[in-house]
């Protein structure tokens, strides 16, 4: 039915299977949209945020997806500016993941504000001294860049490519992609950093506050750095998941290996910087405000803010993946690669978690206690919404666009008749997309 839209020379599952898969994710999406509408119509009272937790799950999700989407700008930076040619085989996917992450972030920001109808005041009445202003501008602009980077991919669709204008447009955009990528890297550097600046400049919040250079606290640089370091982990992680689900090799090992190596070294140096920052903060910054380092962590039973979180973030999810990824032998073992990128993803998410929520949970007034927070179902649903949206975006893009340039080479198809005789594995409703020959679709 949709054969005409499917790229030449690749196998895709039958449309009914695809439809089933999309509707399963669509159900989650619909749930999220319902919660989102509730939030829009009834207001933020639908959340479990409060005056102590002005920022909560959503802002964490925002920061996390932006950090994870950092794979796009950093891969682009490596491909177009540093000239790592091999990465052209994964840049499409990195861009797509980035596009999903950034559109999700913007969507979350859209309902996370109390007055969405005048959210554009952040641009119109911009306070240039606010880190959030910088975030908003660079985020939006960079989303524009990602759209620009994604458009040529869309235009490569078999059907669209037939339109000469679209064909030429895609071609032209490819031609000057380095300019866009450079602009994207520039914007990313600032908004990733500004997101780090958000807690870093809060001098009323000793857990988040950091010294720095000029107007930029150390967290500014640490955030940019960590996004560049862990973003590729997420790109690899999603690529690996996609390969598993499609039961196809989509990107050659040397490409993954190169990205993993760069990511590993980035994490390695990042984590050294992070450790230095943590030590300086724990021994100099915090004590100057009357806090001992341990006062920032609570051993309350079931607490999300124990010292374990620091050990997990820096040790288990920082040092460990760095060591695996910089060791060629280890990162070439699939199990270790999987483990490292997974830990990396968790690590950067943990970092964003503490820098958003723990900052607010730590009591600053001596007569206050730790603040607790548990998200409402509306918050959970709206946070799962971008996940479902991402899966659908990837599924649709994968099905109809030549996202993986190496797919045809790695998965040569026999003549259609032969493929048709193959036994088709029965997919579960929410299961992976089985490959199918175009003839059967």
């Amino acid at each position: 039915m949709d054969t005409a839209l499917i790229p030449k020379g690749v196998k895709r599952c039958p449309i009914w299977q695809f439809a089933l898969w999309i509707s399963a994710n669509g159900a989650v999406l619909a749930w999220g949209v319902f919660a989102m509408l509730l939030v829009y119509i009834k207001g933020l009272n639908q959340t479990n945020m409060n005056n102590a937790y002005g920022f909560a799950l959503w802002i964490w999700a925002d920061l996390a997806v932006i950090a994870l989407g950092g794979g796009a700008f950093f891969t682009g930076f490596l491909r177009y500016l540093v000239g790592k040619e091999e990465l052209k085989y994964i840049i499409n996917y990195a861009v797509l993941i980035g596009f999903i992450c950034y559109s999700s972030a913007l969507m979350i920001l859209g309902f996370d504000i109390g007055q969405p109808l005048r959210g554009w005041f952040i641009f119109w009445h911009a306070n240039v001294h606010s880190m959030l202003t910088e975030v908003a501008f660079c985020l939006t602009c960079y989303f524009g860049v990602l759209t620009i980077e994604y458009i040529p991919m869309v235009l490569e669709n078999r059907k669209l490519d037939k339109v000469p204008f679209f064909h030429n447009l895609g071609h032209n955009m490819h031609e000057i992609m380095a300019v866009f990528a450079a602009t994207g890297a520039f914007l990313s550097f600032f908004h990733q950093g500004s997101l780090g600046g958000v807690p870093g400049v809060m001098f009323g919040r000793p857990f988040g506050f950091r010294e720095g250079v000029l107007i930029w606290p150390w967290t500014f640089f640490l955030f940019t750095w960590s996004a560049a370091a862990f973003g590729p982990c997420f790109t690899i992680f999603i690529t690996k998941i996609t390969e598993t689900l499609t039961r196809k090799k989509l990107v050659k090992d040397n490409v993954i290996d190169l990205l993993a190596k760069i990511s590993g070294w980035m994490i390695f140096f990042y984590i050294i910087a992070k450790i230095i920052d943590t030590i300086y903060w724990a021994t100099v910054t915090a004590p100057s405000k009357g806090f001992t380092f341990l006062e920032f962590y609570t051993n309350n039973p079931g607490s999300a803010y124990g010292l374990w979180i620091l050990i997990a973030e820096i040790g288990v999810c920082g040092v460990l993946p760095a060591l695996i990824l910089i060791t060629p032998k280890l990162r070439r073992i699939q199990g270790f690669l999987w483990l490292a990128v997974f830990l990396g993803v968790i690590g950067v998410c943990l970092n964003r978690w503490v820098m958003v929520l723990q900052v607010l949970a730590v009591p600053v007034l001596t007569f206050e206690d730790w603040f607790t927070y548990l998200p409402s179902w509306q918050e959970v649903a709206t946070t799962l919404l971008p996940v479902a949206y991402g899966v659908i975006m990837i599924s649709v893009s994968y099905r109809y666009l030549p996202i993986f340039p190496q797919e045809r080479e790695l998965n040569p198809i026999d003549e259609p008749a032969a493929a048709a005789r193959e036994v088709i594995p029965e997919p579960s409703a929410a299961g992976p997309e089985p490959e199918l020959s175009p003839a059967e679709s």
Partner: protein, 52 residues
């Protein structure tokens, strides 16, 4: 965002921030304009027509 908003001041902060912003927007805008115009012209020349 624009100099006519009342909170605007011509200070270093605004110049640097908005300078960077408008620079990036200009690059993106000009780049896209270039691509689109060139695509129209190329299409006129018959480039990219698979059915010729």
């Amino acid at each position: 965002m624009f100099p006519f908003s009342f909170e605007w001041i011509w200070d270093a902060g605004h110049l640097v921030f908005h300078g960077g912003l408008w620079y990036a927007l200009t690059v993106l805008g000009l780049g896209m304009t270039y691509c689109i115009i060139k695509a129209v012209l190329d299409a006129g020349k018959g480039k990219g027509d698979h059915h010729h």
